[in-house]
């Protein structure tokens, strides 16, 4: 039984081999090369139409299969493709696929980048909207709470915190833009520029929104004081610094059709923001100095402010040299305390960041204050009186000694 079965298997195998070889014998050389051309064309077509890297990876393995399937007919195919050859055609197909794969990888990366950017922008926009709502709500509450001073003070504190949070959030955003776009190579910049239409909101839109909202805050903020405006100017200074570094790249990337105009628009907005802040800042600074008994000459620019400080200290120094009385010394102490405890301690860093005073200007004023302090020190007459008393005592003792001897 087993032998019979083996016999059947052997016959079947022989039959199959015969059938296969006979099938091969019936092949048309013309058909073989036609089939090869058709499969080649189909693969080329798939390469052209591929939209994902995965599809092209599949094509790669199919090219391998095509090569191994037709390698035994390479001679026929060489004849058919002359002056091309089987090998050169396969190599060319691989090259086309590889180029397409690289292009597609770049496009996929770019898509990811654009999607990421889009998501970032959405997230940022949402957070900013939330903060703006909080700011508006706080502004309204502050206006309503005019009758209740304590409540208003608490609300102003919250409002101030809200602005600080916004500053910090915006600074992080600008820092991220800086790190992302400052060293971006030209090709990536070009690729993003080509896909910029896909973004609902791009970083330039965000920057416009941020500046516009800052202008509104500066114009409408109730209850804010000098430190707040100094901080706003510092924020403006930081913004300007980042914009100067990446503004050109951003406009070339996100406004490729009109980069110069867009740059100008944003520069104008930045100037308007500074004007709004300055409008409040110089008034509040003048008031702060006046409230502390320091009457500076009017100032509406950082240079004016520095001149006013110098003029005040120089004049006071001259007066102290002429008459160093206690009242002058009081003027000195008052200025020194306000300078050290308020101007330097509370506003100092922001004054520098906001381009109001430089470190060197602060140091120069410090030196002048020190000189003024020495000149203003009131001179004491006690030692002179003691000297006179001592001389009188000595004279008296001498007179007494002479009288006794006589």
């Amino acid at each position: 039984m087993k032998t019979l079965f083996k016999k059947h298997i052997s016959i079947l195998t022989v039959f199959l081999i015969f059938a296969c070889s006979s099938a091969y014998a019936q092949q048309s050389d013309y058909q073989i090369q036609q089939d090869f051309r058709a499969e080649l064309s189909e693969l080329l077509n798939r390469v052209e139409l591929a939209v994902t890297a995965e599809e092209l990876e599949e094509v790669s393995s199919e090219i391998d299969a095509l090569q191994s399937e037709y390698s035994e007919h390479s001679e026929i195919i060489n004849n058919a493709l002359y002056p091309e050859s089987f090998e050169s055609t396969i190599s060319s197909l691989r090259e086309i696929r590889s180029t397409a794969y690289n292009n597609l990888s770049v496009i996929e990366q770019l898509n990811e980048q654009i999607d990421g950017l889009s998501a970032e922008m959405d997230e940022f926009r949402n957070r900013l909207t939330q903060m703006t709502q909080q700011t508006t709500s706080l502004q309204q509450q502050i206006e309503r709470a005019e009758a209740n001073e304590r409540r208003q003070a608490s609300l102003i504190r919250q409002y101030r915190q809200n602005i600080e949070q916004r500053d910090s959030f915006v600074s992080d955003f600008m820092q991220e833009l800086l790190s992302k776009y400052h060293r971006m190579d030209a090709s990536t910049q070009q690729e993003i520029a080509e896909s910029v239409d896909r973004l609902d909101q791009n970083p330039l839109d965000m920057i416009r929104t941020i500046i516009t909202e800052y202008i509104q805050i500066a114009d409408q903020s109730p209850g804010l004081q000098t430190p707040d405006y100094v901080a706003m100017r510092a924020q403006h200074g930081y913004f300007m610094e980042v914009w100067n570094q990446i503004g050109e790249r951003l406009t070339n990337t996100f406004a490729p059709d009109r980069p110069v105009q867009t740059r100008q628009e944003i520069s104008d907005l930045l100037a308007a923001w500074l004007a709004s802040v300055d409008n409040k800042l110089w008034d509040s600074m003048t008031t702060a100095f006046n409230q502390n008994g320091i009457n500076l000459q009017p100032f509406i620019t950082p240079d004016d402010f520095y001149t006013a400080l110098n003029t005040f200290v120089d004049r006071a120094y001259e007066i102290s040299l002429q008459s160093n009385n206690e009242a002058d010394y009081e003027v000195f102490r008052n200025f020194r305390d306000f300078w050290n405890n308020t101007v330097k301690a509370s506003w100092g860093e922001a004054l520098i960041t906001g381009n109001i005073l430089t470190q060197a200007q602060i140091a120069a004023i410090d030196i002048k204050i020190s000189d003024w302090g020495e000149a203003a020190q009131p001179t004491s007459n006690l030692m002179f009186i003691l000297l006179l008393i001592s001389i009188a005592v000595i004279i008296l003792l001498v007179v007494l000694l002479i009288v006794r001897k006589k």
């Binding site: 014998a25 019936q26 048309s28 050389d29 013309y30 026929i76």
Partner: protein, 149 residues
């Protein structure tokens, strides 16, 4: 004297004729005319076919008349080593072997293959012969200009 002149003239004539004969008998041996792949040609409205690759253009009307049919979708042509053209088509009962001459193809042989016509014929170039396969019936035939082998 007359005889000597005749002999001299005969020698000169023989030399001239010999030289001329040498010039015309220059023959290149072992020319391989084989076309590696058959050409599958579609006749135009006038039943003319044009093989651009192997540079031949001719009318298939005489062959169609011989087969007793009016038209075919395509004809298959291959040239063997010896330089004979083999022509057939789907529905033909024969393979026609033509010998090229000055502006003509002269029938060398008409090889009968299938009484009721070939289903889907195809020529393959082989070293010593042409292989004709019928892709529908699965039959294959080895042929040359002299007939089936």
């Amino acid at each position: 004297m007359k005889r000597k002149t005749i002999i001299n003239l005969s020698v000169i004539f023989a030399v001239v004729m010999g030289t001329m004969a040498c010039g015309t008998s220059l023959v290149i041996q072992d020319v391989d005319y084989s076309q590696p792949l058959e050409s599958v040609l579609t006749p135009d409205a006038d039943n003319r076919v044009h093989d651009q690759r192997y540079a031949i253009k001719f009318s298939i009307i005489p062959v169609l008349q011989e087969e007793g049919i009016t038209s075919v979708d395509e004809i298959r042509v291959i040239r063997n080593r010896a330089g004979y053209y083999f022509i057939t088509a789907s529905g033909f009962s024969h393979v026609y072997v033509f010998e090229p001459d000055e502006s003509v193809l002269k029938l060398k042989n008409k090889i009968e293959i299938a009484g009721e016509g070939l289903g889907q014929p195809a020529f393959n170039q082989r070293n010593t012969h042409i292989e004709l396969v019928d892709m529908i019936s699965g039959q294959s035939y080895n042929i040359d200009q002299n007939g089936r082998r």
